[in-house]
Amino acid sequence: MSCLANKAEGALSASSGFLSRTGISLKPVYYQTILTDFPEIGFFEIHAENYLSKGGPAPYFLAQIREHYPITVHGVGLSIGGESPLDVDHLERVATLVETVQPEVFSEHLAWSSHYSQYLNDLLPVPYDQATLDRVCRHIDQVQERLQRPMLLENPSTYFEFARSNMSEVEFLSTIAKRTGCGLLLDVNNVEVSCFNRRGNPYEYLNAFPMDAVGQIHLAGHTMDTNQELPLKIDSHDDTVSQNVWGLYQHTLRLAGDVPTLIERDGNLPSITELLKEAQFADEIRQAVIQERHHELAL
């Protein structure tokens, strides 16, 4: 059973904004506008690592915004795919934040970023083999045990494949979800980026993806690295969602049914109005797919 289904049974009314309307990334430049205009939006997503201070603007504004909106917490620093043990102090800080914020979901990445005491500030890829699978599952068990709730694991954007991988990414993620009971965060832009970079077909990827485990979708923009050797797509989060990602999103919803969705933006931040427009566009696609499915059922 997916995380979302678990969540929906217990707290439908409180989560209805999250479930029914698309959300956007929460950034400090938007704090004032949000608390003045109270835009109609499903939820805001924060990066856990930006909200771990004891004081200052981040916890102060988050507490105010939390009074009016559902929040999702997205971790970027637990290094779940890492070879070294999880940093328990960091897990403790993240758990305290999750307890305070009571987010709709907590999500993290299938990636590594720390090796013992060194943090590299990038989501680095992992090989898809049995040893890595076992380790990632152990780390997810540890996180879920501490948080006392299922987490969502996000499919990565990658720029190379490991020679030693002997499973597909989808197989790898499906097995993790089954073994640990975690849900999956399907980043559709990452599907586009990774499939392009390994010359795969993103539609085939989505057709194989375990949609019943998907608790949230991320949509973001990417850029093109036009180096001499080979073109690569870069998961930059600094532009609008591209046309082909919107197409993949619609395809995903047709396979998965309606799923809570985030417009993720981290760089080159536009006015909040621009992000709200993208969120609204996502809502229109969601509504259209819901209508399609009603018609199919009626027939």
Partner: protein, 258 residues
């Protein structure tokens, strides 16, 4: 494997290349370069966010080169990026190319200090009205003890880094050409509401505030300096919302009795 991957990000270490599935060595390089670029670009940006005035003083090319060298020597140890740059000031002190700017290391230390202060817990302070009420009730205010929040810091700098910092703020209160960087300065670092504040203060004011931090009574805290004006000092402390407690006993005794 992670440790070889890490080495390959920081150097042209080829031991990791066997791990990458690709048709040619050039393709392996190109694919790995995306990660190399991500790591360095994002960490240089992080340092620029933490040290914006230092960045502005040395210019973009110089800052990026200096930051890159720092990242190789001191990669972050925490996933909380605002904590990064702990050794940046010391690194600058030993960075030969920055020798012509002897104040740069102090400036960087000041910037990091302010950021850390912003992220610290807030302490309750008295309002202007609270302070006025207490003073009105007391016959001899000179016997009172004024407490400042425990994270209040005083700094004596051989360079005018406080003014240099202020001249780079968008409030336009001070122009860059008004700053004589080789003049010494006394600085007060404190927190007002959610953000750290920096005030350039007089020597006599620094003496007075140091005495308050050492829990001396108002009478004993007044420095033997001709330019010290208690009225204007107290007005500043109220404006900066920096008085956390007023009592007729020093804080230590007060706490013991509690």
């Amino acid at each position: 494997m992670n440790s070889h991957f890490k080495s390959a990000l920081f150097s042209q270490d080829s031991r990791f290349y066997n791990e990458i599935k690709a048709g040619s060595l050039a393709e392996k390089e190109t694919r790995l370069n995306v990660y190399r670029n991500n790591v360095f670009v994002s960490l240089i940006e992080a340092l620029s966010d933490i040290f914006p005035v230092t960045h502005s003083v040395v210019g973009d090319d110089f800052f990026r080169a200096m930051a890159r060298a720092y990242i190789v020597e001191h990669p972050p140890s925490s996933p909380i990026l605002r904590e990064y740059g702990q050794h940046f000031s010391d690194f600058i002190r030993g960075f030969e190319a920055a020798n012509s700017l002897p104040f740069l290391a102090d400036l960087a230390a000041l910037e990091r200090n302010l950021l850390t202060l912003t992220h610290e817990r807030e302490h309750d302070t008295l309002t202007r009205e609270d302070v006025a009420t207490v003073f009105a009730k007391v016959e001899d205010p000179s016997t009172l003890y004024l407490s400042l929040p425990p994270n209040t810091q005083l700094l004596a700098s051989p360079f005018a880094i406080g003014s240099l910092y202020q001249a780079h703020q968008s409030d336009g209160k001070l122009r860059l050409d008004e700053v004589d960087i080789y003049g010494s300065e006394y600085l007060l670092l404190c927190k007002s509401f959610l953000y750290a504040q920096l005030h350039v203060i007089r020597f006599s004011e620094a003496c007075f505030l140091k005495n308050l931090l050492q829990h001396k009574s108002l009478e004993d805290a007044i420095p033997d300096e001709a330019d010290f004006d208690l009225g204007s000092m107290l007005a500043k402390l109220m404006k900066w919302q920096l008085i956390s407690r007023i009592s007729n006993q020093p804080p230590a005794i007060h706490q013991q009795e509690k």
